[in-house]
Amino acid sequence: MLSIAVRKRLGDFTLDADWTSDQPIIALVGPSGAGKTLTLQCIAGLITPDAGRVICAGHELFDSASGVNVRPQRRRIGYVFQGYALFPHMTVLENITYGKRRAEKGVRPLLPVIERLGLRDLQSRYPSELSGGQQQRVALARALATDPDLLLLDEPLSALDAPLRRELCTELSQTLREWGKVAVLVTHDLSEAYQIADVVVLCEAGRTTSAVPKNDLLWNPSSERVARLIGARNILRGVIADTRTESVALDWRGVRLEAAQSPSHNLHARKGDELAFFVRPEYVRLIRKNRVVSDNLRQTNLFRGDIIGERDEGTTWVLFFRVAMEGSPAQGAYDLEIEIPKLVYERLNVAADRHWDVSIHPGSIQVLPSY
């Protein structure tokens, strides 16, 4: 288990990290300048927090109240730095065997790690002679070679180009699972975090959320703020018309929307209250013309409007849809962003036809509790 609650002021910036995880792989996600790297440095002991405590696997690493501050050399933490920070004057093997705790035991115990990461043939190369992917593996091997209790990874994939990043993402995920200890991954890419981690901590301007299981974060965000942090689009506000156990009816832009209510969200909101919700753009359906809408599901959340703008994103199209109702649109000039595959765009001839009925599945309207 890893638990951190620290405060650190650096000029105008204040880091206020506070989260605990009993899951092994934790991702810190947020934009640059959010304090993610600073959090890692506090865990590693490279920066001394002004106040707070850091506890890893039952060991107290830092506690301002009792004056505990274990030196970085003694924290048993492996750190994969952003850009890898390989020693340029040492070969791959010298880099990997540099760690103090392992150096005494010689090279032999490291051979499986070297083999596992495919570095055997590269042992006598220098870091400048390696590709980005190979450098990443060396950095990982060097950190794991000291047999740490905790591994910190700072943007381990961001220096790589897209195809390699996908490949190494899978590889890194496997390596961490096999290794089986606690790891903290810093990334600005939520999908990377989702693929590798068990729980996600969101960081923004020095503040953090608690550690949330990744599925909850994506499919059940706990607040409007979290929804914005994970990049949810179509975050809207409606007024509650009716609440039932499994669903809630909302009035929005003169349209009555049914939203399946997640049981885990204990809504204290009542009829007449304002409520935030969001609709994933790819879950809004355009209804084909001249077709009798027969099934009930399609008839719920069915409304009419116009496409007032669009954006070609290559394999998909983003449409800006305006509901055919009085009043000002919810998001500037439009009410909803809709995302459809290019194939659908062409088959429905959306380019020529701008007047559409759309429907949203009740389960695709995500209600956001406001506290």
Partner: protein, 217 residues
């Protein structure tokens, strides 16, 4: 032709450079990497030998190591003479040249990616070990450049040496002082030879330095 001034100068410059390097390289690292009270003041003070009149430096140095000076009295009590000996010339050369070494080495240490030293720390290495296995090997070109520059500067010191070591032929008369004396007594042949030798030494050292700069770690 009297070669004593050349031999003395080489000896003085070499010893001064060794003293400077032993003290200056760790000091440069501290200035580059540690934040402590008075760091900026120390950093600024270290630069003064480059711009102050040598006579001013010589004067203060004499106040310290002369017979009535703080250090001079301590040494005198133990029967050691420092002022107006060749050892004072070493000290003078060191004072005149250490700013060059410290500033060059400091720039070298500062240009090392901090994460390399942090990585070494998280891998269990003490500050001392990080200094020797990471910082020095990565900054060695700057350290060497600073050392060579300091040596050349030490070789050419005139004013400070004159103030604290005097100009005693056969005892403390270094090469620059000898050239001055030769010119004063109109022995231009000797002055010319010694001047050419100094130029040659410095050019050869600078050439070597240029070669080294092209090497990898």
């Amino acid at each position: 032709m009297d070669w004593f001034p050349l031999a003395l100068s080489l000896q003085v410059a070499l010893l001064a450079t060794i003293v400077t390097a032993v003290v200056g390289v760790p000091a440069a690292w501290l200035l580059a990497r540690r934040h402590f009270a008075g760091r900026d003041l120390i950093s600024a003070t270290l630069l003064t030998p480059l711009v102050l009149p040598p006579t001013v430096l010589g004067y203060y140095l004499l106040m310290v190591i002369g017979r009535r000076g703080f250090v001079g009295r301590l040494l005198d009590a133990r029967g050691i003479e420092l002022a107006f000996t060749w050892r004072a010339a070493v000290l003078a050369a060191a004072v005149g040249s250490f700013a060059l070494l410290i500033k060059t080495a400091q720039a070298g240490f500062e240009s090392i990616d901090k994460r390399l030293e942090q990585a070494a720390q998280t891998l269990g290495h003490s500050d001392w070990s990080v200094f020797w296995t990471i910082s020095v090997p990565l900054a060695w070109r700057s350290i060497l450049a600073g050392t060579v520059l300091a040596f050349c500067k030490a070789l050419g010191d005139f004013g400070i040496t004159l103030m604290v070591a005097g100009d005693i032929p056969g005892r403390t008369q270094t090469l620059p002082l000898a050239i001055y004396d030769h010119v004063q007594s109109n022995q231009l042949q000797q002055a010319n030879t010694l001047a050419l030798v100094s130029v040659a030494i410095v050019i050869v050292l600078m050439l070597l330095l240029g070669r080294v700069a092209r090497l990898r770690y």
